[in-house]
């Protein structure tokens, strides 16, 4: 099912006022597509992931909507969302190590979890072992404790567990960031494999690593200070970035083999604005080399080429 996020606004309540962590994020993920969401820390990418499945007590849904296959998700209503969680919308957390109960054998833990969601463990068990084998794990892992598995194995167990009900939307928030390169690749490829087999509908792959996102995502959305800056098919975004922020971000990432002696790369001067009292208009204007008068008004997030949307007055 397609997922449409339009102008989603989620704020955090703090003693000093509301932090506008997500303030107009829009994106569209097609059925069976993997959307990579990238940005610096504090850009709202994790808030987006959390909003789609469960808001914590400090978060408040201020505006905008999320539609899953045409039906609106009641994201602001904790109780109404319960019916969607796990069955329709599922999550792979960043630290699988802390997601698994250390005092239970994995099989028992999965059983308890499934029963709590109204699924009989005995019915799901065959499918569970089949999928564990797909990601290269023996059915014996069910008899083990989490501490007996490596980080990559635990992450794959969590992947199988969270997709067992074939969710329409899977949120992978930094799912591979804590792993080293070989494991990272294995888990990322398992994610793509599950999508290819139709175990998950749409996927939001949230990461800070542009190169990793480029490997597995079909489309990429770049976020900045709570808003979508640019969204495009992955290859298009890497080859023809249009938003000045995307361009600067791409040129700030050293690639394997690049050296300072050949070409000195530059970072982005300045730092992201405070979201407690964000600037008006374009939020990138203070760091942007192209900024001009019109940036005082917020640029719309418009389509400039098929499937390529940019929020910048200077993008043509």
């Amino acid at each position: 099912m397609t997922v449409e996020v339009s102008e989603l606004r989620v704020h955090y309540r703090t003693l000093r006022g509301s932090v506008q962590a997500l303030d107009g994020a829009s994106m569209e993920v097609g059925d069976g597509a993997i959307m990579g969401v990238v940005g610096e820390s504090g850009c709202g990418k994790s808030t987006l992931g959390k909003s789609l499945i469960r808001m914590d007590g400090r978060m408040r849904h201020v505006g905008g909507s999320v539609r899953l296959g045409g039906e609106e998700l009641p994201i602001g209503d904790d109780r109404a969302m319960q019916a969607f969680r796990y069955h329709e919308v599922s999550l792979i957390p960043q630290y699988a190590m802390s997601a698994l109960n250390p005092t239970r054998r994995i099989g028992r833990m999965i059983g308890e979890l499934l029963e709590s969601r109204g699924v009989r463990f005995s019915e799901a068990k065959r499918e569970l072992t089949r999928r564990l084998e797909l990601v290269g794990l023996d059915g014996d892992v069910l008899k083990r404790f989490p501490i007996e598995l490596s980080g990559g194995m635990k992450q794959r167990v969590v992947l199988v567990l969270s997709t067992l009900r074939d969710p329409s939307l899977l949120i992978a928030d930094e799912a591979t960031s804590a792993l080293d390169v070989a494991n990272q690749r294995a888990v990322a490829e398992a994610l793509v494999g599950f999508r290819d087999r139709g175990f998950v509908g749409a996927m939001l792959f949230i990461s800070h690593d542009l190169a990793l996102v480029a490997q597995i995502a079909d489309t990429v959305t770049v976020m900045y200070a709570g808003r979508s800056a640019e969204s495009a098919p992955a290859s298009e975004l890497l080859r023809r970035p249009r938003h000045p922020y995307t361009r600067m971000l791409l040129s700030a990432v050293p690639t394997v083999g690049a050296t300072i002696d050949e070409r000195r790369q530059e970072g982005i001067p300045g730092s992201p604005p405070s979201l407690l009292d964000p600037p008006t208009g374009c939020r990138f204007k203070d760091r942007c080399p192209l900024a001009f008068d019109q940036c005082e008004t917020r640029p719309p997030f418009v389509e400039v080429a098929p499937g390529h949307r940019v929020a910048c007055w200077k993008a043509e």
Partner: protein, 307 residues
């Protein structure tokens, strides 16, 4: 300047420390002045242990670590150790945990002053502190007097480097110093290391990220389970990796303009026999073998190699 000679570290693990864990095995390397040596490896490869041994935070089981010809482990007395830290300093992964959150960031400088510059007059001290902060491209007015939570990770990390620069520092151990920073500020810290290298500072750069390891580095050391798998001039190691482990690692690193499938196709080329066990008669059978100018390759540890 810094020389490691067959350094090993064995940790005691398990119940009552009954089992040995070889964290580092027979590692030899040198860090000359004005050069960056990258230690690259996955988790558990022993890269951080080497950094910690150089900083004397962990004892050495066997082998020697020498700084200007003097054995680092043999430094006796408070005075000699203090003198060592005047020249050798470390910066670590998490800048937030290096600052006390209830004091302004200036405190790290004040502590340094108490130890090393007690006799320096106040005005002179403040001037040299500002110079050092400007050297890491920070504005002293913007950072001094602030609390750690008011500054970004990149700013805090640069402050820690500025603190180290106040001393008469000649070797910097940088252990994963940019892993926690954002893409847009990472490159600034790397450029800073590049500039310090130009000024003659030797840097031992510990990282798990191959793309960050190449950007500022003259020599690359790839570690695998505590042993050197491959070492040599950075360009050489990355252009023509010989060890199957290095090749696998390079193929797994996500890159922006090359898919994993393309990387695998290149990987399929023949790696050849293990050079260590192919050339019989070396003194230590497990030592890396020179395959090009300064380019050494360790044992492949595959089926044909005797253990």
């Amino acid at each position: 300047m810094l020389t490691l000679e067959r350094v090993s570290k064995v940790y005691r693990v398990g119940t009552f420390g009954t089992q040995p864990l070889n964290a580092v095995r027979d590692v030899s390397l040198t860090v000359p002045p004005g050069a960056v040596v990258s230690l690259i490896g996955e988790s558990g490869s022993g890269k951080s242990t080497i950094g910690r041994m150089v900083l004397r935070l962990t004892s050495v089981t066997s082998g020697t670590i020498a700084f200007d010809g003097r054995n680092v482990a043999g430094l006796n007395g408070h005075r000699a150790r203090k003198e060592y830290y005047r020249h050798v300093q470390g910066v670590f992964q998490d800048p937030f945990s290096c600052f006390n959150p209830i004091f302004p960031v200036d405190r790290v400088f004040e502590l340094l002053r108490g130890e090393y510059f007690a006799a320096t007059p106040d005005t002179e001290w403040r001037a040299s502190m500002r110079r050092s902060i400007e050297r890491v491209s920070l504005d002293p007015g913007q950072v001094l007097g602030r609390y750690p939570h008011q500054l970004s990770g990149g700013q805090l990390q640069r402050l820690l480097i500025a603190r180290a620069l106040m001393l008469d520092i000649r070797l910097l151990v940088a252990d994963e110093i940019i892993s926690m920073l954002d893409a847009s500020t990472r490159i600034d810290v790397l450029n800073l290391l590049g500039d310090l290298r130009e000024e003659g500072l030797g840097i031992l750069f510990v990282t798990h990220d191959l793309s960050l390891g190449t950007y500022v580095s003259d020599t690359t050391v790839i570690l695998r389970r505590g042993r050197i798998a491959e070492t040599g001039p950075t360009g050489e190691v990355f252009a023509s990796p010989r060890h199957p482990y290095t090749r696998g690692l390079l193929a797994s690193v996500p890159r922006m303009h090359r898919t994993w499938a393309e990387a695998d196709a290149e990987l399929d080329a023949e790696t050849g026999p293990c050079p260590v066990h192919d050339s019989a008669g070396s003194e230590h059978p497990a030592d890396p073998v020179e395959v090009g100018a300064g380019h050494f390759v360790g044992c492949f540890s595959n089926d044909t190699c005797p253990e």
